[in-house]
């Protein structure tokens, strides 16, 4: 068995997305499903219902939304996918990831920072921000969870190789493990039946020029990841050992001035959003 096969074999037995979240993602990916089916599914779960109403109402100043059906209508399917993935994944994200030297909540912090950077960049560059940009960025680091917390790979030899050869951390992962954390993450999300466009972004977010098609969401998530590393929140042992894609930066027309402005904006926005996700991950949450 190769090291890669061994890693995927171990990951296969460990991680499961909550059943309700899996069902919801299947529904959302099916053209026949309607919002009634989705609402019925959520209504069976008091924890999900409470979280959905809390999140929908957090951004409303008029009459509060009091039913799941109204909440699903108010959110739209893009935001609902985001909601399910976030609430389903957050409990995994807040644990310690020993192999990558990430204390509890650090992966969450860096993922939320990358997601906000991707969104804010899209706005700053006047590109519009497709609905799955945030979710894709939020999930981009999920492979670290498997490698660092479950398979317990050690970052040190990977870092040493990256430093010695002047390569990115992901390339060093490839050489030592036979697979990098972006690919592991995409593999996991495929098993979780997360929609294909999100999986594609996660798979290619570290080396977007290798993606067979040009995808603006992938470009935004790659640039968002780069900016979040520079901001520094939730940095693990891998630090800033990643190579920004010149192709993507040129395609986006991203300048240091825009990047600075967006970073300052994101740091201001981070406080309340972090709190919101951490609340969802509270141990009292019935997920």
């Amino acid at each position: 068995m190769t090291r890669k096969q061994e890693i995927l074999h171990r990951a296969e037995r460990i991680l499961l997305l909550p059943a309700c979240t899996q069902k919801a993602l299947q529904l959302l990916d099916s053209p026949e499903a309607d919002s009634e089916d989705l609402a019925r599914l959520i209504e069976f779960d008091p924890g999900l219902t409470a979280n959905l109403l809390k999140i929908v109402n957090a951004s409303r100043f008029d009459a509060p939304v009091c039913s799941v059906r109204d909440a699903v209508g108010a959110f739209g399917s893009g935001m609902i996918i985001q909601f399910f993935v976030s609430t389903g994944v957050v409990p995994f994200y807040v644990q310690k990831i020993e192999g990558y030297d990430l204390a509890p909540h650090m992966l969450m912090q860096s993922s939320v920072t990358a997601a906000l950077c991707a969104e804010e960049l899209g706005r700053a560059l006047g590109m519009g921000v497709p609905g799955h940009t945030y979710t894709s960025a939020l999930l981009a680091g999920v492979g670290k969870l498997i490698l660092g917390a479950y398979v317990k790979v050690e970052a040190r030899p990977i870092l040493d190789l990256a430093a010695r050869e002047g390569i990115g951390f992901d390339e060093a992962e490839d050489r030592i493990l036979g697979i990098n954390h972006a690919e592991v993450g995409a593999w996991l999300l495929e098993r979780w039946r997360v929609p294909g466009p999100i999986v594609r972004v996660v798979r290619h977010h570290l080396r977007p020029e290798l993606c067979p098609q040009v995808d603006p969401v992938l470009d935004l998530v790659h640039a968002g990841m780069v900016m979040s590393k520079m901001i520094g929140l939730g940095l693990g042992a891998d630090g800033l050992n990643y190579i920004p894609s010149r192709v993507v930066i040129d395609r986006l027309g991203l300048t240091p001035e825009v990047a600075d402005r967006v970073s300052a904006e994101v740091v201001e926005r981070l406080g309340p959003l972090n709190d919101l996700f951490l609340e969802c991950a509270d141990t009292n949450c019935l997920l």
Partner: protein
């Protein structure tokens, strides 16, 4: 002993010998300490960006976001707390960059801005640990002015 945590775009100061100031997660950001060993007054700032060009409103709202406005403001606060400007000892850590990054260079720009600011005021950095690709955490011990940098589980004194 109390640990005072300095967030991103934040500064904390102290005149209490039992305090330790700390800032985590320095990526490209720059952590700067200033300490008066006689008055035992010190501060630690965590700056996100070099300067407020193009973001004047932001620098008015929070000068600590930027090296040029933040470090100057920290010095003013320390003087208000009894420090003497000429006795302040400055140290810096952070300012990392992405690997092979020739475009953003945020870490290098942050450090250049600090050197420019200190040079204009004829002040020299007593020590620094900047650049590379590693994340850093910085501690300032108020009893002695000792500055410790932690990265990947290893600590070293600046």
């Amino acid at each position: 002993m109390s640990l005072l945590v300095v967030n991103i775009s934040d500064m904390k100061s102290s005149a209490c010998a039992a305090d330790i100031l700390v800032t985590y997660s320095l990526g490209s950001c720059l952590g700067v300490t200033a300490y008066d060993p006689v008055a035992r007054v010190g501060g630690l700032i965590h700056c996100l960006l070099p300067n407020a060009v193009g973001a004047r409103e932001k620098s008015r709202r929070n000068p600590f976001t930027f090296v040029n406005t933040g470090v100057a403001m920290m010095v003013r606060k320390l003087i208000d707390r009894g420090a003497e400007k000429h006795r302040l000892v400055f140290k810096a850590a952070g300012g990392a960059n992405m690997r092979n990054d020739t475009l953003f260079n945020t870490g290098a720009r942050n450090f250049q801005e600090l050197e420019r600011l200190l040079g204009r005021n004829r002040v020299k950095l007593a020590a620094h640990d900047v650049g590379g690709t590693k994340p850093r955490t910085v501690f300032l011990y108020m009893d002695s002015g000792r500055v410790v940098v932690r990265s990947r589980g290893e600590e070293s004194e600046l």
